[in-house]
Protein backbone atom coordinates (compact mmCIF):
# COMPACT_ATOMS: atom_id res chain seq x y z
CA UNK A 1 0.00 0.00 0.00
CA UNK A 2 1.52 3.31 -1.15
CA UNK A 3 1.31 6.18 1.35
CA UNK A 4 0.79 9.84 0.52
CA UNK A 5 1.38 12.26 3.35
CA UNK A 6 -0.11 15.74 3.20
CA UNK A 7 0.80 18.27 5.85
CA UNK A 8 -0.97 21.59 6.33
CA UNK A 9 1.52 24.38 5.66
CA UNK A 10 -0.72 27.36 4.81
CA UNK A 11 -3.90 27.40 6.96
CA UNK A 12 -6.91 28.97 5.15
CA UNK A 13 -8.35 32.33 6.28
CA UNK A 14 -11.91 30.92 5.96
CA UNK A 15 -12.66 27.18 5.61
CA UNK A 16 -11.17 24.81 3.04
CA UNK A 17 -13.32 22.38 1.06
CA UNK A 18 -10.91 19.52 0.28
CA UNK A 19 -13.34 17.14 -1.42
CA UNK A 20 -10.55 15.78 -3.62
CA UNK A 21 -8.69 14.30 -0.66
CA UNK A 22 -9.64 10.65 -0.97
CA UNK A 23 -7.88 7.49 -2.16
CA UNK A 24 -10.18 7.41 -5.19
CA UNK A 25 -9.03 10.80 -6.56
CA UNK A 26 -5.39 10.29 -5.48
CA UNK A 27 -5.11 6.82 -7.08
CA UNK A 28 -2.56 6.62 -9.92
CA UNK A 29 -1.21 10.12 -9.32
CA UNK A 30 2.24 11.35 -8.41
CA UNK A 31 2.82 13.83 -5.57
CA UNK A 32 3.02 16.66 -8.12
CA UNK A 33 -0.23 15.66 -9.80
CA UNK A 34 -1.89 15.41 -6.38
CA UNK A 35 -0.66 18.93 -5.67
CA UNK A 36 -2.54 20.16 -8.75
CA UNK A 37 -5.89 18.76 -7.56
CA UNK A 38 -8.42 21.56 -7.04
CA UNK A 39 -9.47 22.75 -3.62
CA UNK A 40 -11.93 25.52 -2.71
CA UNK A 41 -11.85 28.34 -0.16
CA UNK A 42 -15.16 30.21 -0.32
CA UNK A 43 -15.77 31.03 -3.99
CA UNK A 44 -12.05 30.89 -4.94
CA UNK A 45 -10.54 27.76 -6.47
CA UNK A 46 -6.85 26.91 -6.02
CA UNK A 47 -4.70 23.80 -5.75
CA UNK A 48 -4.05 21.33 -2.93
CA UNK A 49 -0.35 22.16 -3.22
CA UNK A 50 -1.00 25.75 -2.16
CA UNK A 51 -2.25 24.61 1.27
CA UNK A 52 -0.50 21.28 1.86
CA UNK A 53 3.04 19.86 1.71
CA UNK A 54 2.61 16.65 -0.30
CA UNK A 55 5.07 13.73 -0.20
CA UNK A 56 4.87 10.20 -1.65
CA UNK A 57 2.99 8.93 -4.68
CA UNK A 58 -0.42 7.28 -4.63
CA UNK A 59 -0.92 3.58 -5.36
CA UNK A 60 -2.21 2.36 -8.71
CA UNK A 61 -5.75 1.97 -7.34
CA UNK A 62 -7.72 3.43 -4.47
CA UNK A 63 -7.43 0.12 -2.59
CA UNK A 64 -3.68 0.37 -2.28
CA UNK A 65 -3.53 4.08 -1.49
CA UNK A 66 -3.16 5.35 2.07
CA UNK A 67 -3.38 9.05 2.88
CA UNK A 68 -1.91 10.43 6.10
CA UNK A 69 -3.06 13.98 6.93
CA UNK A 70 -0.93 15.94 9.37
CA UNK A 71 -1.12 19.48 10.76
CA UNK A 72 -4.05 21.65 11.79
CA UNK A 73 -6.99 20.62 9.61
CA UNK A 74 -9.66 21.84 12.00
CA UNK A 75 -10.90 24.21 9.27
CA UNK A 76 -10.85 21.62 6.45
CA UNK A 77 -14.07 19.98 5.29
CA UNK A 78 -14.91 16.90 3.19
CA UNK A 79 -11.79 14.83 4.02
CA UNK A 80 -12.37 11.27 2.74
CA UNK A 81 -15.32 12.45 0.63
CA UNK A 82 -17.00 9.54 -1.29
CA UNK A 83 -14.04 7.20 -0.67
CA UNK A 84 -14.65 3.61 -1.82
CA UNK A 85 -11.39 1.89 -0.76
CA UNK A 86 -7.94 2.48 0.72
CA UNK A 87 -7.18 4.27 3.97
CA UNK A 88 -7.25 7.81 5.28
CA UNK A 89 -5.63 8.71 8.62
CA UNK A 90 -6.15 12.18 10.06
CA UNK A 91 -3.64 12.90 12.82
CA UNK A 92 -5.57 15.81 14.39
CA UNK A 93 -9.16 17.03 14.39
CA UNK A 94 -11.09 17.92 11.25
CA UNK A 95 -14.26 19.79 10.36
CA UNK A 96 -17.58 18.78 8.73
CA UNK A 97 -18.36 15.95 6.26
CA UNK A 98 -15.47 13.66 7.38
CA UNK A 99 -15.90 10.45 5.38
CA UNK A 100 -19.16 11.76 3.88
CA UNK A 101 -20.94 9.47 1.35
CA UNK A 102 -18.29 6.80 2.07
CA UNK A 103 -18.81 3.45 0.30
CA UNK A 104 -15.70 1.54 1.43
CA UNK A 105 -12.20 1.68 2.82
CA UNK A 106 -11.04 2.74 6.30
CA UNK A 107 -10.88 6.29 7.66
CA UNK A 108 -9.40 7.04 11.05
CA UNK A 109 -9.47 10.43 12.79
CA UNK A 110 -7.31 10.76 15.89
CA UNK A 111 -8.96 13.99 17.05
CA UNK A 112 -12.56 15.27 16.81
CA UNK A 113 -14.86 15.63 13.83
CA UNK A 114 -17.62 18.16 13.39
CA UNK A 115 -21.13 17.63 12.01
CA UNK A 116 -22.26 15.38 9.13
CA UNK A 117 -19.40 12.84 9.54
CA UNK A 118 -20.11 9.56 7.70
CA UNK A 119 -23.31 10.98 6.20
CA UNK A 120 -25.27 8.53 4.00
CA UNK A 121 -22.53 5.90 4.48
CA UNK A 122 -22.88 2.74 2.37
CA UNK A 123 -19.82 0.78 3.51
CA UNK A 124 -16.32 0.94 4.96
CA UNK A 125 -15.26 1.92 8.47
CA UNK A 126 -14.97 5.36 10.04
CA UNK A 127 -13.31 5.45 13.47
CA UNK A 128 -13.01 8.65 15.49
CA UNK A 129 -10.79 8.73 18.55
CA UNK A 130 -12.15 12.03 19.85
CA UNK A 131 -15.73 13.37 19.75
CA UNK A 132 -18.11 13.39 16.80
CA UNK A 133 -20.52 16.20 15.87
CA UNK A 134 -24.23 16.14 15.07
CA UNK A 135 -25.87 14.10 12.28
CA UNK A 136 -23.24 11.32 12.54
CA UNK A 137 -24.10 8.68 9.95
CA UNK A 138 -27.40 10.44 9.18
CA UNK A 139 -29.17 10.86 5.82
CA UNK A 140 -28.80 13.94 3.64
CA UNK A 141 -31.65 16.44 4.03
CA UNK A 142 -34.88 15.18 2.49
CA UNK A 143 -33.52 11.69 1.71
CA UNK A 144 -35.40 8.75 3.23
CA UNK A 145 -32.40 6.45 2.58
CA UNK A 146 -29.84 7.08 5.33
CA UNK A 147 -26.76 5.10 6.34
CA UNK A 148 -27.17 1.67 4.80
CA UNK A 149 -23.89 -0.13 5.64
CA UNK A 150 -20.43 0.11 7.14
CA UNK A 151 -19.31 0.81 10.71
CA UNK A 152 -18.74 4.02 12.65
CA UNK A 153 -16.78 3.85 15.91
CA UNK A 154 -16.50 6.90 18.20
CA UNK A 155 -14.35 6.71 21.30
CA UNK A 156 -15.58 10.03 22.69
CA UNK A 157 -19.07 11.62 22.71
CA UNK A 158 -21.35 12.15 19.72
CA UNK A 159 -23.75 15.00 18.97
CA UNK A 160 -27.47 15.07 18.24
CA UNK A 161 -29.43 13.38 15.41
CA UNK A 162 -27.01 10.43 14.98
CA UNK A 163 -28.26 7.68 12.67
CA UNK A 164 -31.25 9.59 11.29
CA UNK A 165 -33.14 7.51 8.64
CA UNK A 166 -30.57 4.72 9.22
CA UNK A 167 -31.41 1.59 7.21
CA UNK A 168 -28.33 -0.59 7.91
CA UNK A 169 -24.77 -0.65 9.20
CA UNK A 170 -23.53 -0.28 12.77
CA UNK A 171 -22.48 2.55 15.07
CA UNK A 172 -20.69 2.24 18.41
CA UNK A 173 -20.35 5.35 20.63
CA UNK A 174 -18.28 4.89 23.74
CA UNK A 175 -19.19 8.27 25.24
CA UNK A 176 -22.50 10.11 25.61
CA UNK A 177 -24.91 11.30 22.90
CA UNK A 178 -27.13 14.35 22.62
CA UNK A 179 -30.88 14.42 21.79
CA UNK A 180 -32.41 12.37 18.94
CA UNK A 181 -30.90 8.96 18.27
CA UNK A 182 -31.92 6.98 15.17
CA UNK A 183 -34.95 9.14 14.41
CA UNK A 184 -36.97 7.57 11.54
CA UNK A 185 -34.50 4.63 11.42
CA UNK A 186 -35.62 1.58 9.41
CA UNK A 187 -32.70 -0.72 10.31
CA UNK A 188 -29.12 -0.76 11.52
CA UNK A 189 -27.68 -1.10 15.03
CA UNK A 190 -26.44 1.64 17.39
CA UNK A 191 -24.62 0.94 20.65
CA UNK A 192 -24.20 3.87 23.09
CA UNK A 193 -21.99 3.03 26.03
CA UNK A 194 -22.43 6.40 27.73
CA UNK A 195 -25.65 8.28 28.52
CA UNK A 196 -28.38 9.47 26.17
CA UNK A 197 -30.51 12.55 26.81
CA UNK A 198 -34.03 12.60 25.41
CA UNK A 199 -35.95 11.78 22.20
CA UNK A 200 -34.16 8.46 21.71
CA UNK A 201 -35.57 6.39 18.87
CA UNK A 202 -38.40 8.79 17.89
CA UNK A 203 -40.49 7.56 14.87
CA UNK A 204 -38.36 4.41 14.54
CA UNK A 205 -39.79 1.75 12.19
CA UNK A 206 -37.07 -0.92 12.65
CA UNK A 207 -33.49 -1.28 13.87
CA UNK A 208 -31.89 -1.65 17.29
CA UNK A 209 -30.44 0.74 19.91
CA UNK A 210 -28.46 -0.27 22.98
CA UNK A 211 -27.88 2.28 25.74
CA UNK A 212 -25.57 1.23 28.55
CA UNK A 213 -25.91 4.47 30.52
CA UNK A 214 -29.05 6.47 31.37
CA UNK A 215 -31.85 7.92 29.24
CA UNK A 216 -33.20 11.14 30.78
CA UNK A 217 -36.71 10.92 29.26
CA UNK A 218 -38.12 7.86 27.46
CA UNK A 219 -40.26 8.33 24.36
CA UNK A 220 -43.92 7.53 25.09
CA UNK A 221 -43.95 5.48 21.87
CA UNK A 222 -41.60 2.88 23.41
CA UNK A 223 -43.51 0.20 25.29
CA UNK A 224 -41.72 -1.77 28.03
CA UNK A 225 -41.34 -5.42 26.94
CA UNK A 226 -39.67 -7.11 29.89
CA UNK A 227 -35.99 -7.66 30.58
CA UNK A 228 -33.46 -9.83 28.82
CA UNK A 229 -29.96 -11.14 29.52
CA UNK A 230 -27.63 -10.39 26.62
CA UNK A 231 -24.05 -9.89 25.59
CA UNK A 232 -23.52 -6.73 23.57
CA UNK A 233 -20.12 -5.86 22.08
CA UNK A 234 -18.43 -8.10 24.60
CA UNK A 235 -20.35 -6.78 27.57
CA UNK A 236 -22.72 -9.19 29.33
CA UNK A 237 -25.61 -7.75 31.30
CA UNK A 238 -29.31 -7.44 31.95
CA UNK A 239 -31.17 -5.05 29.67
CA UNK A 240 -34.63 -3.51 29.99
CA UNK A 241 -36.27 -4.13 26.59
CA UNK A 242 -38.57 -1.59 24.95
CA UNK A 243 -40.34 -1.92 21.59
CA UNK A 244 -41.56 0.98 19.46
CA UNK A 245 -42.24 3.42 18.12
CA UNK A 246 -45.87 2.37 18.55
CA UNK A 247 -47.00 5.70 17.10
CA UNK A 248 -45.31 4.84 13.78
CA UNK A 249 -46.49 2.44 11.01
CA UNK A 250 -44.89 -1.02 11.13
CA UNK A 251 -44.47 -3.83 8.67
CA UNK A 252 -45.73 -7.34 9.33
CA UNK A 253 -43.38 -10.26 8.79
CA UNK A 254 -45.04 -13.69 8.84
CA UNK A 255 -48.01 -12.23 10.74
CA UNK A 256 -45.78 -10.68 13.41
CA UNK A 257 -45.58 -6.89 13.66
CA UNK A 258 -41.93 -5.85 13.36
CA UNK A 259 -40.96 -3.18 15.94
CA UNK A 260 -37.68 -1.38 16.55
CA UNK A 261 -35.91 -2.53 19.72
CA UNK A 262 -34.41 -0.36 22.46
CA UNK A 263 -32.33 -2.07 25.15
CA UNK A 264 -31.30 -0.05 28.24
CA UNK A 265 -28.72 -1.68 30.49
CA UNK A 266 -29.88 -2.06 34.08
Amino acid sequence: METVTITMKNPPALYLEADNVSPDTFAGKTAAQIGDLSVHEGNTTSTLGKYFEISGNAGASAADTKIVIKGDVKKVKYLGFKMSAGEVAVEGSTDQYAGAWMTGGKMQVKGNVDAFAGIAMKGGELSIEGNAGNYLGAAYRGDWRGMSGGRILVKGDAGSDIGMYMTGGEMIINGNVDVHVCTHAEGGKVIIKGNAKTKVGGQMVDGTIFVFGTIDVMMPGFKPAGEVEMEVDGVKGKFAHYIGDTGERHKKKKGQVVYANLYKKI
Partner: protein
Amino acid sequence: MATINVNLISGRSIQQGVAIEGGKEKPAYRTAAGIIELDPSDLKKLGAWKNTNVKVTSDFGSVIVKATETSQGPHPGLGFIPMGPWANAIIDPNTYSTGMPTFKGVPVKVEVAINEPILLGIELVQKLCGVK
Protein backbone atom coordinates in the same frame (compact mmCIF):
# COMPACT_ATOMS: atom_id res chain seq x y z
CA MET B 1 -30.52 39.40 47.72
CA ALA B 2 -32.32 36.24 46.56
CA THR B 3 -31.72 34.80 43.10
CA ILE B 4 -34.04 32.44 41.26
CA ASN B 5 -33.49 30.00 38.41
CA VAL B 6 -36.09 29.94 35.63
CA ASN B 7 -36.35 28.45 32.15
CA LEU B 8 -36.22 31.34 29.66
CA ILE B 9 -38.22 31.54 26.45
CA SER B 10 -38.42 34.44 23.97
CA GLY B 11 -41.04 35.28 21.37
CA ARG B 12 -43.36 37.90 19.97
CA SER B 13 -45.73 40.17 21.84
CA ILE B 14 -48.07 42.71 20.32
CA GLN B 15 -46.34 45.56 22.18
CA GLN B 16 -42.97 44.35 20.79
CA GLY B 17 -44.53 44.25 17.29
CA VAL B 18 -45.77 47.83 17.54
CA ALA B 19 -42.44 49.00 18.98
CA ILE B 20 -40.30 47.52 16.17
CA GLU B 21 -42.49 49.25 13.59
CA GLY B 22 -42.44 52.47 15.57
CA GLY B 23 -38.63 52.67 15.42
CA LYS B 24 -36.08 50.62 17.38
CA GLU B 25 -34.11 53.69 18.35
CA LYS B 26 -36.99 54.91 20.51
CA PRO B 27 -37.51 54.19 24.26
CA ALA B 28 -40.84 52.50 23.46
CA TYR B 29 -38.81 49.53 22.14
CA ARG B 30 -37.03 49.19 25.48
CA THR B 31 -40.34 49.44 27.33
CA ALA B 32 -41.83 46.69 25.16
CA ALA B 33 -38.90 44.27 24.84
CA GLY B 34 -36.42 45.15 27.56
CA ILE B 35 -38.49 43.22 30.12
CA ILE B 36 -38.72 39.72 31.62
CA GLU B 37 -42.25 38.52 32.34
CA LEU B 38 -42.24 36.37 35.47
CA ASP B 39 -44.95 34.47 37.27
CA PRO B 40 -46.10 36.18 40.50
CA SER B 41 -44.85 33.17 42.51
CA ASP B 42 -41.37 33.56 41.01
CA LEU B 43 -41.39 37.31 41.73
CA LYS B 44 -42.27 36.49 45.33
CA LYS B 45 -39.39 34.00 45.54
CA LEU B 46 -37.10 36.68 44.09
CA GLY B 47 -38.35 39.05 46.80
CA ALA B 48 -38.72 41.86 44.30
CA TRP B 49 -41.60 44.28 43.59
CA LYS B 50 -42.93 44.42 40.08
CA ASN B 51 -41.06 46.61 37.56
CA THR B 52 -37.68 46.50 39.29
CA ASN B 53 -34.53 46.14 37.19
CA VAL B 54 -33.03 42.67 37.34
CA LYS B 55 -29.90 41.04 35.93
CA VAL B 56 -30.60 37.89 33.95
CA THR B 57 -27.60 35.61 33.41
CA SER B 58 -27.20 32.49 31.28
CA ASP B 59 -24.15 30.49 30.21
CA PHE B 60 -23.94 32.80 27.20
CA GLY B 61 -24.18 36.29 28.67
CA SER B 62 -26.10 38.56 30.97
CA VAL B 63 -28.44 41.51 30.49
CA ILE B 64 -30.31 44.08 32.58
CA VAL B 65 -34.07 44.10 32.04
CA LYS B 66 -37.18 45.14 33.99
CA ALA B 67 -39.00 42.32 35.80
CA THR B 68 -42.74 42.55 35.16
CA GLU B 69 -45.66 40.37 36.16
CA THR B 70 -46.77 38.18 33.33
CA SER B 71 -50.03 38.83 31.52
CA GLN B 72 -49.74 35.45 29.79
CA GLY B 73 -49.60 33.30 32.89
CA PRO B 74 -49.64 31.48 35.19
CA HIS B 75 -46.37 29.90 34.10
CA PRO B 76 -44.34 29.22 37.26
CA GLY B 77 -40.66 28.47 36.62
CA LEU B 78 -40.83 29.99 33.11
CA GLY B 79 -39.44 33.43 32.20
CA PHE B 80 -40.38 35.29 29.00
CA ILE B 81 -38.33 38.05 27.37
CA PRO B 82 -39.90 39.35 24.10
CA MET B 83 -37.67 38.68 21.06
CA GLY B 84 -35.11 41.43 20.64
CA PRO B 85 -31.56 42.45 21.58
CA TRP B 86 -32.16 41.92 25.31
CA ALA B 87 -33.34 38.31 24.89
CA ASN B 88 -30.72 37.55 22.26
CA ALA B 89 -27.92 38.72 24.52
CA ILE B 90 -28.40 35.60 26.65
CA ILE B 91 -30.15 32.88 24.61
CA ASP B 92 -28.34 29.67 23.59
CA PRO B 93 -26.77 30.03 20.09
CA ASN B 94 -26.36 26.24 19.74
CA THR B 95 -28.15 25.24 16.54
CA TYR B 96 -27.63 21.43 16.90
CA SER B 97 -26.56 21.71 13.20
CA THR B 98 -30.11 22.60 12.12
CA GLY B 99 -29.36 26.29 11.56
CA MET B 100 -31.84 27.36 14.23
CA PRO B 101 -30.51 28.80 17.53
CA THR B 102 -32.25 27.67 20.73
CA PHE B 103 -34.36 30.78 21.41
CA LYS B 104 -36.58 28.86 23.82
CA GLY B 105 -35.52 26.64 26.71
CA VAL B 106 -32.43 28.42 28.16
CA PRO B 107 -31.82 27.99 31.92
CA VAL B 108 -31.12 31.44 33.45
CA LYS B 109 -30.44 32.99 36.86
CA VAL B 110 -32.37 36.15 37.81
CA GLU B 111 -31.14 38.56 40.52
CA VAL B 112 -32.29 42.04 41.49
CA ALA B 113 -30.12 44.90 40.10
CA ILE B 114 -32.01 48.08 41.04
CA ASN B 115 -29.33 50.61 40.19
CA GLU B 116 -28.19 49.20 36.84
CA PRO B 117 -29.68 50.95 33.79
CA ILE B 118 -31.52 49.20 30.95
CA LEU B 119 -29.93 50.28 27.69
CA LEU B 120 -31.82 51.26 24.53
CA GLY B 121 -32.04 48.59 21.79
CA ILE B 122 -29.43 49.87 19.34
CA GLU B 123 -27.20 51.12 22.15
CA LEU B 124 -27.16 47.63 23.78
CA VAL B 125 -26.11 45.86 20.59
CA GLN B 126 -23.44 48.46 19.80
CA LYS B 127 -22.03 48.16 23.31
CA LEU B 128 -21.96 44.34 23.23
CA CYS B 129 -20.29 44.41 19.80
CA GLY B 130 -17.80 47.12 20.75
CA VAL B 131 -19.01 49.38 17.89
CA LYS B 132 -19.56 53.10 18.52
